[in-house]
Symmetry: C3
């Protein structure tokens, strides 16, 4: 199929090159002057943890497809290196328009990296079904609309930035699902869509990374109460992990553990606690939340994959719906309940607060669905298409392969 190959060569590099050139030019005009910032401390190890988690953790977390290891991990690096620049530019533009406050460079990179998590989660939903061009377009569109949705939360609903940032999982999961709606479901019999024990193990490696670094992720932008956020996140993750093992045995047919359950459910607690970690005062609340999230992630995994997804014709390759989507919904709900409990005495303020949080939730999820659906429609159009369905999930389409490919 030389035509297809030429297509790949003719489009991807030139698009990337033009965009990269545009970025450099824009950075020339749009770099905020750091001298005007009152020197607030920002910790480099905290940024490093998040960077490590996104590049390495997600890179390997998504590596469970048998013949898509190279692409999973390398395209993940590509969109992060590309997306962080894009996200920084959007932030710089907002600073120039005085819509957002100027901040230290290191803090802006960290925020850009946290925002990229949304994109990385979205790519999980269409893993193996998109080519790099589609991923690049998706990255740009998603970052722009996530910034808009976040700015609306901040400006209209007065949600502080470090809270609205925790909507990344929600936005990423539902944006990704809406995009995946347009990508034909790969048949379950598709040989390339299977996993091998080896690919599961490498994916487990990524999962452990994410598990270990999740407290850093939740606390990196917290202004105060950092220790409390770390403490609560750790407990939610710990209970989540234990519950994942419990439910995996209970829900599988012959009472064995299923690796995909463990992969998704151990992380669920960390996603759900993201919203409310700073306001939980007792570890048992974090633990209960971790337990419930894990239950929802595993039950969701069974129900969604059996009932809802086939009905909606969604094929969610790496299960972002139950790994990140449902836990984020539960977390948002838990936040509202906690707000109600904590402000029970001041009824006037309570109503306003609840409306604010519900408003931010509805705003994020509806922007995600609508823009995701449109993005999926656009990147399915002819100019972006390079992969035919049978070529899906196959490294050989994108990569020169060593001749000795036995035993992979």
């Amino acid at each position: 199929m030389p035509a297809k190959y030429r297509n790949f060569r003719n489009s991807v590099p030139w698009l990337l090159l033009i965009l990269e050139a545009v970025f450099i030019v824009l950075f020339y005009f749009l770099s905020p002057d750091e001298k005007s910032i009152s020197m607030s401390e920002f910790s480099y190890p905290a940024f490093q943890d998040v960077n490590h988690m996104v590049v390495f953790g997600f890179g390997f977390f998504l590596m469970f497809l048998r013949r898509y290891g190279f692409s999973s991990t390398a395209f993940n690096l590509l969109i992060i290196a590309f997306g962080v620049q894009c996200s920084m530019l959007i932030e710089n533009l907002l600073i120039f328009l005085h819509l957002r406050q100027n901040e230290l460079g290191l803090r802006r990179i960290t925020k850009a990296t946290v925002r990229m998590t949304a994109v990385v989660i979205s790519t999980g939903a269409v893993l193996g079904k998109t080519n790099p061009i589609q991923l690049i377009v998706m990255t740009i569109v998603e970052l722009i609309f996530f910034q808009i949705s976040q700015w609306l939360s901040n400006a209209l609903l007065k949600i502080p930035e470090d809270v609205s940032m925790m909507h990344v999982h929600l936005f990423g999961a539902y944006f990704g699902l809406a995009v995946s709606f347009h990508f034909s479901k790969l048949s379950q019999d598709n040989d390339k869509n299977r996993s091998t024990p080896k690919s599961y193990l490498l994916s487990m490696l990524g999962t452990l990374f994410l598990w270990v670094f999740w407290p850093s992720f939740n606390s990196v932008l917290a202004v105060n109460n950092k220790n409390k956020v770390i403490y609560n996140t750790y407990f939610a993750l710990a209970v989540s992990a234990v519950t994942a093992f419990i439910l995996s045995v209970l829900t599988t047919k012959d009472g064995k553990l299923r690796m995909t359950h463990i992969h998704s459910a151990v992380l669920a607690g960390g996603v759900a606690i993201g919203y409310s970690a700073r306001s939980i005062n007792y570890p048992w609340i974090a633990m209960v939340l971790g337990l419930l999230t894990s239950v929802i992630a595993i039950l969701g995994s069974s129900c969604l994959q059996r009932c809802l997804h086939p009905a909606l014709k969604i094929h969610d390759t790496s299960g972002v719906h139950f790994t990140f989507g449902l836990p984020a919904v539960l977390g948002a709900l838990a936040e509202v309940i906690l707000v109600v409990i904590n402000n029970w005495t001041e009824l006037a303020r309570l109503g306003y607060l609840v409306m604010t949080y519900i408003g931010a939730f509805c705003l994020t999820i509806s922007v995600a669905w609508v823009t995701g659906f449109l993005t999926g429609f656009i990147i399915k159009l002819k100019p972006f298409k390079t992969t035919s369905v049978p070529k899906c999930s196959d490294d050989q389409f994108f990569w020169e392969f060593p001749h000795l490919a036995v035993g992979f």
Copy 2:
């Protein structure tokens, strides 16, 4: 064997669920109020290093069995997530009983994680021979008795807590060995007990992690002289690593390197220096200690596996006896010698100090042997049994397997 499977499903999840529920209830009653603590600084990166090391490093360090990769790494995550909660609860209880001082949450989690190292080391000795129920019971019992042994050291012998904490390796190794006494030796011919180059490489990955993070582990609870602890630990590890290569070539039959030697001996120096790193003033002492430990680990590995273990009918799957046990004994001995040298002038105090250190050592090791032996006896009883010997060291007993399992 459907009866066995049902047995696994009927026991593991319900036991875990009940315990997790009990934990949540206990945390409701037993969470110390942090407001009463004078805000002492505690570094999050230090906790993160130890967490990373225990979850990721040990998870992969134990992954050398050919068909036990899923279980090694996932059960390691399970017992850590479970055990840290359990260990925190015991600590909280001691605080409530005013037997121990209240501390910052982050510091309490760190201590719980360090204590879990003992359990992780013990599981290494019975790797592939226990089911999750037995591991859970073992975790709870071991944590309780390690806390008791530590509390006795602190209260009776006035050993400071950061020193008595370094007994984790000693306790873990000998508890594990005593437990493994009850588990029938798997025949050396057992096909599943072998390693492949791939499983060795993944285990090497874990070893490198442990090697890199060992200075963090030894220094995380040190109150002062942190830099000195890091410095000495690094030198002990470096000399240990070099010596491991020297001795591996000298002791194998045809003068080649053996991977298991490298795995265990490079870490030996870090274990031994744990006790005395804060009191060593010159790097050459740390280097000599690193060299001696590596010698003992490798010679021990040959002698123990050929003579002592078969005689005692012990089968120590991942060699915790020579990786952690013997180096910890040597480290304790070195500590006593250093105490004698440093306090040579004050003979009155010297006798007391030496008795204290020897007392703490004997206390730890005897509690470990006795409780380990009893624990092994109990978890070998009928209600905890699910695995038959031929099913040992096999992921297929616990995990749903992808259909394409070729090349693993």
Copy 3:
């Protein structure tokens, strides 16, 4: 070939043992007293990042040879554990001779680890073609001459130490190339010299580590402007990564991505920015530099491997010439250009500065070539030889192998 094996056993361990004993004795005499140091802060996490990167990142980065995985990663650990001690000793000697200022132990270990990068890069050029003895000799000689070259830069040309330290890549790459000149080119048909998808993936794992930790590496010794160094390095790396994907598609025959391009070019930006990161005030400059470096790395990779290397009879196993050598040359050039631009107004000082930087560059590269060439000549001599050419790049020559080696 029993004679060869005996040779390996008879030489490696005894040489290492004697050297290790000498080191311990020298450390006894040559440990600077830390009490005289005004307690300057030095961050442990920064050291940890560099340590992690060198041991783990390079260990896996070099693991792309099909049958050389054990040796790549374990010999890397060996020479680092050995070389850091050696490098510390040379530094201590310089402190005793009052040629260098005394510093905190942790800072001296960090500097020793950074210097080891030069050696690790050099070993990449002769990967699979040298035995441990040759590596050890090479390590000692290279560390001594790098220290001399650095000391000359500091003393004669008044280059500050944290700048001259960034010559590690330049020195390491050209020293390694000069050594590799003496090692017969392994035929491209050599079966052992190939990579499998699995070995590429593990190497990708190492690359991601290096990519994530490169900002730490560049900033670890920076005295001030740490944040700026991190910020600029991140941008150079990000653009480098994107450009690597662009050029890989454009330069390969059928428009696919080539893994080796990605491995080397994503890091090129970090290498080049090392010199000038502290003096770049706008991210777009770092981005342009990252783009140019990546272009040079990939074009260099095609040209060098096709034209220059065969002509010079050089076989550069892991492509250190275009991964580290050319980017470092470009970085040095960029530094000179930036100096010219920044000091345009003071013509008198400008000439001096430019001469200084060019002098340091020429000094480093010529010392590297000359000493590398001599070292290669010496370690090719009879007493150091143990491996015959057909035994190259083969773990089985150095390691006892598990019996079940299928599927590796």
